[in-house]
């Protein structure tokens, strides 16, 4: 009855439910599973504790004393005393570990027994451990011991027994220790002997899965200090360098020798200045290191920037900058405003800085201190002061105007030396126009009156005279003459740069060209003072210089004087020059056109006069006439109009002296 009752009320070990009612369904409930997992783990550790003695056979002493080592090891897993009994959860049995051959023998025996094995199987089925198998990760085999293993265990025990007994027998044969040795050992050590250093605890270096070495003592097997992660501190002698280390050392040494510093914006190199020696960059082309002259500096050394340096003579001779200036600023050379709120710039003439230590003033009004009104007042006062200062400077300059020069002539044309014209004439083809480029700025320096000061001397070059002479069949001369040409203030006729250039150009012409001109009739339009006509008359057969009636007196005088000088040089027959009045647009049949050559210097200056000019030119010229005009680049419009007009009637070529 009681058995039946017991059979009726069977409860699950882990979830404590009545098994009869539910059957095996309850194995899938969460409570059951969780409890089961817990239980199984506990059982496992339990069994493991007992199994420990399978592998580590410790014999219980014959006198009943178990070795302390065994106990200490066992207590790590499960605290047990000498007379321990072990409860097997699965079988519901307690096993008494009596003092038998080995420690934990009985437990192991039980675990190896068949009954236990069966119980494990039934438990496995009933509790449904298979369901939870994945979460458990435990094998059934771990909960029991196989028979083979158990037999082996027994054999090993027996072996150990024998060994122990043999040892004891050996010990008995050992003779007693010599008394002298005992006395020596007991006596205090002599002072000479040093103490033997005990070697430090040597733990093995342990390597974990990823290969990192660790050693609990902090020291290597070789005796080097070790940190975690395998970092070893090594003495300099023992360090083995790689080739790249040596290379880097060498590079560093070289750099120090050469004084090279790798550039960083934050580090400021020496204040005296530095230059780049080598530059590299991705997708960047390198020009190579800049070569500086010994005294030169650059941006980094704080040298004077090139745009503030004063122009040298060489630079003045070139024209491109000024051409560019005219083109860039527009046709009339717009004056720049030097003072402006917000970004003030104090400029001198020609855009060059007024003073050496030049700095523009930024934001003159918005100073940090003071109210805006005060600052503005200060600013305006300063500006007024500057303006007056400038005026004073100008007046001083005018007073100290340099002594006699060719007054109306720009400095450049002073330097028009014949050599440069010779070089350029190589590029001239069939010539119609000779153009001259001067600068507006130079001209405007001199005042109107100063332009018409003195008599201008024009030196006839000796070669030219000789050429003319040879053409006319006269022997070459030993010296040349100077033509003194007057200028007139009243009628505003002066020697313009254009005529100077033209006459010099004439002087440069080769003999062949002079021969062409030899027998030609020539006319000059807009003669003015008559210089170019006079020079031309040295080459041609007949020359007529014309201009407006106002200018005629001067023209007459100059022609007479210079004509006589030329006649001295070239012979009376060789020179034939007259002066006559001609209004453009008037009937000019009195001069008996057509002429072989027509000259004009600086006649293109007024748009209104173009029609008349062109008309006169057409009247005076025939189909074979050559016209030479030299003009100064003043206004672009004027030139454009002129050429538009000319295009309709004439064929023209261009050349220039620069």
């Amino acid at each position: 009855m009681s058995e039946k009752k017991q059979a009726q009320w069977r409860f699950c070990r882990s979830c404590k439910r009545n098994l009869e009612q539910r059957g095996n369904e309850h194995n899938y409930t969460k409570k059951h599973k969780d409890n089961l997992i817990q239980k199984m783990n506990q059982i496992f550790t339990d069994v493991k504790g007992q199994k420990y003695f399978l592998n580590h056979i410790t014999l219980s002493a014959t006198n009943g004393e178990t070795s302390s080592v065994a106990l200490s090891n066992a207590s790590a897993l499960k605290p047990t005393s000498e007379d321990t009994s072990w409860y097997c959860f699965i079988c519901d049995v307690t096993v008494h570990n009596e003092k038998t051959n080995a420690v934990g023998f009985e437990a192991i025996k039980h675990l190896a027994s068949k009954s236990h094995h069966k119980q494990v199987d039934s438990f496995w089925y009933e509790a449904g451990v298979g369901i939870v198998h994945n979460q458990l990760k435990l094998n059934k085999q771990k909960f029991y011991i196989k028979e083979d293993r158990f037999q082996q265990f027994i054999i090993e025990i027996k072996k150990k027994r024998k060994e122990e007994e043999e040892k004891k027998e050996e010990e008995k044969d050992v003779p007693p220790i010599d008394e002298k040795i005992i006395a020596a050992a007991l006596a205090p050590p002599p002072e000479d002997i040093q103490e033997i250093q005990k070697p430090a605890k040597a733990y093995e270096t342990v390597y974990n899965a990823s290969g990192i070495a660790q050693n609990g003592t902090g020291f290597n097997e070789e005796g080097n200090r070790v940190w975690g992660g395998g970092i070893v501190k090594v003495k300099r002698d023992m360090w083995l360098s790689w080739p790249i280390d040596e290379l880097e050392d060498e590079l560093d040494k070289r750099k120090v020798e050469l004084g090279i510093v790798v550039g960083k914006a934050s580090e400021t190199p020496s204040s005296s200045g530095f230059r780049t020696v080598h530059a590299t960059g991705e997708n960047l082309k390198s020009l190579g290191a800049r070569v500086l002259a010994p005294g030169e500096g650059n941006v980094h050394s704080g040298a004077v920037p090139p745009w503030l340096k004063s122009k040298s003579d060489l630079q003045r001779a070139t024209n491109s900058g000024k051409m560019f200036a005219i083109a860039h600023n527009g046709r009339r050379g717009r004056a720049l405003k030097p003072q402006k709120l917000g970004a003030e710039l104090v400029r001198g003439e020609n855009g060059v800085a007024a003073s050496k230590n030049f700095l523009p003033k930024f934001g003159g009004v918005w100073q940090l201190n003071g109210s805006r009104g005060d600052n503005r007042r200060d600013f305006l006062e300063n500006r007024a002061v500057q303006v007056t200062e400038k005026k004073e400077e100008k007046e001083e300059e005018e007073k100290n105007f340099p002594a006699p020069m060719m007054s109306n002539v720009s400095e450049r044309s002073l330097r028009i030396n014949l050599q440069s014209i010779i070089k350029l004439s190589k590029y001239l083809l069939s010539l119609r126009f000779v153009t001259l480029i001067t600068s507006m700025a130079d001209r405007n320096k001199r005042s109107y009156k100063e332009r018409f000061r003195d008599i201008v001397d024009f030196q006839l070059p000796l070669e030219f005279i000789n050429r003319c002479r040879s053409i006319k069949g006269v022997s070459p001369a030993s010296h040349s003459a100077i033509l003194a040409i007057e200028q007139d203030t009243e009628s505003a006729s002066c020697i313009w740069d254009a005529s100077l250039v033209m006459s010099s150009w004439f002087c440069q012409q080769d003999e062949e060209i002079l021969r062409q001109w030899k027998n030609s009739r020539c006319l000059e339009i807009g003669s003015g003072c008559g210089l170019s006509g006079i020079v031309m008359s040295a080459t041609c057969a007949e020359m007529i210089a014309t201009d407006l009636g106002e200018v005629m007196p001067i023209l007459h005088r100059n022609v007479d004087k210079s004509g006589s000088i030329l006649k001295e040089l070239l012979g009376a027959d060789g020179v034939n020059i007259k002066s006559q009045e001609l209004f453009w647009g008037n009937d000019c049949s009195a001069l008996s056109p057509p002429f072989d050559i027509i000259i004009g210097s600086d006649i293109v200056y007024e748009i209104q006069a173009f029609d008349l000019l062109v008309k006169t030119l057409r009247d005076l010229s025939g189909p074979d006439t050559i016209i030479y005009i030299s003009l100064e680049h003043r206004w672009k419009d004027v030139e454009r109009f002129f050429f538009a007009e000319i295009d309709q009637h004439f064929v023209y070529d261009l050349t220039s002296t620069r």
């Binding site: 190199p269 960059g281 960047l284 020009l287 083109a327």
Partner: protein, 163 residues
């Protein structure tokens, strides 16, 4: 040199799609000294270099938009040794900024503050940079910090030696 050089106005007659080119020291001097109240951008480089071409493309596209704030010119670095030596230009393209004859510097995060080396990553970078220069200069600052983020700044290395 032909007569018509005077007729070729740099601003109007040239094809409007091209950048204006300066050919020698005088022209550069003139431009620096006479550009008023506008940031002056001078690109030193060689027209055949590919990075230069990229930079030129950016400059060309933004020239119109920036016309009130900046003027842009292009210079072949080999033409003007004076300027190349003064500015220590060793990598091209190098772009140098001026305002009212003052040379403007900017801390881009590169070894050299005096010029911008390389091309711009986007048009907007260039526009931002010029705007910062303009604002700084109108307030009197010849050195500014760069508005361009470091990843857009082309990096390079320079080795210096004392003069």
């Amino acid at each position: 040199m032909s007569f018509l050089r005077g007729d070729q106005t740099i601003g109007t007659h040239q094809m409007s799609g091209l950048l204006r080119r300066l050919r020698n020291k005088e022209e550069i001097d003139h431009v620096i000294l006479n550009t008023e109240d506008k940031v002056l951008v001078l690109r030193f480089g060689e027209a055949n270099d590919i990075t230069c071409m990229r930079l030129d493309e950016t400059l060309r596209k933004t020239e119109g938009e920036l016309s009130k704030m900046a003027e842009i010119f292009v210079i072949e670095a080999t033409d003007v040794p004076d300027y190349t030596n003064y500015f220590d230009i060793t990598l091209i393209p190098a772009t140098i900024f001026f305002f009212n004859t003052v040379h403007l510097k900017c801390d881009y995060g590169t070894p050299d503050n005096t010029k911008w080396i390389g091309a711009f990553h986007t048009k907007q970078d260039l526009i931002d940079l010029i705007e910062c220069f303009y604002r700084g200069a109108m307030r009197g600052k010849p050195i500014i910090t760069s508005p361009i983020i470091p990843s857009h700044v082309p990096q390079y290395t320079l080795l210096y030696m004392d003069i």
